[in-house]
């Protein structure tokens, strides 16, 4: 076992990769070993993996249904039967939190799916082409930036109906401008680099350069940035829940749970605190991973 793993490590660290796959794996391994040398980052990753695990296996993990009420057992403090207590409708908080992990993950997914491509495309196009395209795209970006995100989110939610997904899409719509700026700045500095010039000298079209050469190089920093923003996004979704614009009852969304739980803070602290802690851990995890990723993907900083 240990010799096998030693062999693997050697294979992964050898100076002479012998196939494209080997090289790719080595690259991943390098990033990973830099990442792994950051204990906080690893801790964050463990939490996120745990979240994914829970989200996948929640039907088997959760002791109760997240919706089942028991109006005779409301606001029970944590006890043997309900490890994290029950809420105002007698639902098991632990089960709700576990089920809520799916919602949190979907927030993460939706945001990444929306923000990354929009930000990347807008930013890279503006940065690479420059000129009037840059002016127009950046004006639009600016418009979105100076637009109060709450108004946008609300308009969206009001137009499409209040539910969590709409709220998240709305949040995501307010999140792409900073990413676009980041991507633009990166493309600006990339576009005059020699290796891009070299591709141009092969006769590649501008679009090909943006898509195949500029954008991929911007991806790491965009990923890092989105990871770091994820905590903010989860919290904003929770904040929208607080204003009643996010998840609809009885959905076990953590933010909504905190916001109902706040009514009972003074007497039944666990109702709001437990989901609050979940939010805290997950957003902390994303922050830690983002920080570690930044260091891992950017060896310059060492």
């Amino acid at each position: 076992m240990s010799t096998a793993s030693k062999g693997l490590t050697a294979w992964l660290t050898t100076e002479e990769p012998n196939s494209a796959r080997h090289a790719t794996l080595q690259n991943i391994w390098r990033v990973w070993s830099r990442f792994a040398s950051n204990p906080l980052g690893v801790a964050g990753l463990v939490i996120i993996l745990l979240l994914v695990f829970v989200a996948v296996f929640v039907p088997w993990l959760a002791p109760y249904s997240p919706f089942e009420q028991n109006l005779r057992e409301t606001l029970m403090a944590p006890n043997g039967q309900h490890l994290l207590g029950t809420d105002e409708l007698g639902r098991d908080i632990l089960s709700r939190i576990l089920w809520g992990s799916r919602i949190t993950l979907s927030i993460v997914a939706i945001v990444s799916v929306i923000v990354a491509p929009i930000g990347l495309i807008v930013g890279c196009l503006a940065g690479y082409y420059g000129g009037w395209l840059d002016t127009i795209l950046m004006r639009v970006t600016e418009l979105f930036l100076s637009f109060p995100s709450l108004i946008l989110a609300l308009a969206f939610v009001a137009a499409l109906g209040p539910n969590l997904n709409n709220a998240i899409i709305a949040i995501a719509l307010t999140q792409w401008p900073p990413i676009a700026r980041l991507a633009r700045a990166e493309s600006l500095s990339l576009r005059n680099r020699d290796h891009i010039s070299a591709v141009r000298l092969m006769g590649a079209s501008s679009l090909h350069i943006v898509i195949a050469h500029i954008a991929p190089l911007c991806i790491p920093s965009v990923i890092v940035r989105i990871t770091l923003n994820m905590a903010g996004i989860i919290l904003t979704a929770a904040g929208l829940g607080f204003l009643g614009l996010g998840a609809q009852p009885p959905s076990p969304e953590w933010g909504a749970m905190v916001s109902t739980g706040r009514r009972f803070m003074l007497d039944s602290w666990w109702v709001g605190t437990m989901p609050g802690l979940s939010i805290l851990f997950v957003s902390l995890a994303f922050n830690l991973v983002g920080d570690a990723l930044r260091d891992a993907l950017d060896p310059r900083q060492e």
Binding site: G239, F242, N287
Partner: protein, 353 residues
Amino acid sequence: MVNQVETAISPAKRRLGLRKYSRFGGSLASVLTTLFLLVLLTFIIGRLMPIDPVIAVVGPDADQATYLKVKQELGLNLPVLQQFWIFLKNLLHGNFGTTLLTGRPVMEDIARVLPATVELATVTIILGAGIGIPLGVYAAVNRGRFADHAVRLIALLGHSTPIFWIGMVGLMLFYAKLGWVGGSGRLDLFYEDIVPNVTGFLLIDALLAGDMEVFWSAVTHIVLPASVLAYASIAYISRITRSFMLEQLSQEYVITARAKGVSRRGVIWLHAFKNIRVQLVTVVALSYGGMLEGAVLIETVFGWPGFGQYLTNALVIGDMNVVVACTLIIGCVFIALNVISDLLYKFFDPRIK
């Protein structure tokens, strides 16, 4: 095929992606376009939004005749474009119209709620930058050591905790249990209406009137919400400061300075910090601007009669006159902050002149 003019862009600007408002005429025009688009967009969104403010005005149990009468009085039965035209005409006369809900002039309301929020945001940013920047520098200087991890963890916690939760806990602890700070609102109620309203900023008004008791009451009321908000912004500011600072500390000129005998502290503050102060001003300014609307949750928890709450309430019931006015103000503030930080760049960064 590829024919492109390369133009140089200064690294500092590139980093923040700031737009250039170099030529005054052009910048004014572009600011105005942005503002106009902002208003138009808000207006359209507002009118397309299926929120009908009339029910908020008349209540859910009003009969149809009252409902229709009020709707007509509010001008909501006109075509959208006509509504926009009326709005624009009013705007050009410096008039934001009246709130649908209470029928008061929007300007008057904003003149009341904006100072409250600005006061809160100012105290917050003083705390946030005052603590966050040194912390960030400290973390950067001790990169990888315990102090760095500690600062980062504290900052990350601030970044990851629901702010209204901290607010509630703070109230419970410092107000209810310990009694160190005042409760909700800007003043203890019985101090209301004692000092004349001059600037709208209670701390300043109280000082102007020389009434220390009112001043003290205002201080005890602002401390907690400002600290809670500041915690979040300390998290943000210290983090940014740290990364700015790390970048500078890895520059060659730092070694040059050390080589000529400048002490560590001298290098940090006289050399590296000088290089990040403009970027920091921008960051601080933008997070200051963000607090205008971003403080809603804290305003709600602390019953702070501010801009965020005003805007949110208007949004929820669809009081679009208010929403558009507020959007315009936020937009103006952001653009102004951008322009100011641009000017600061020009002023402080010799490379840009």
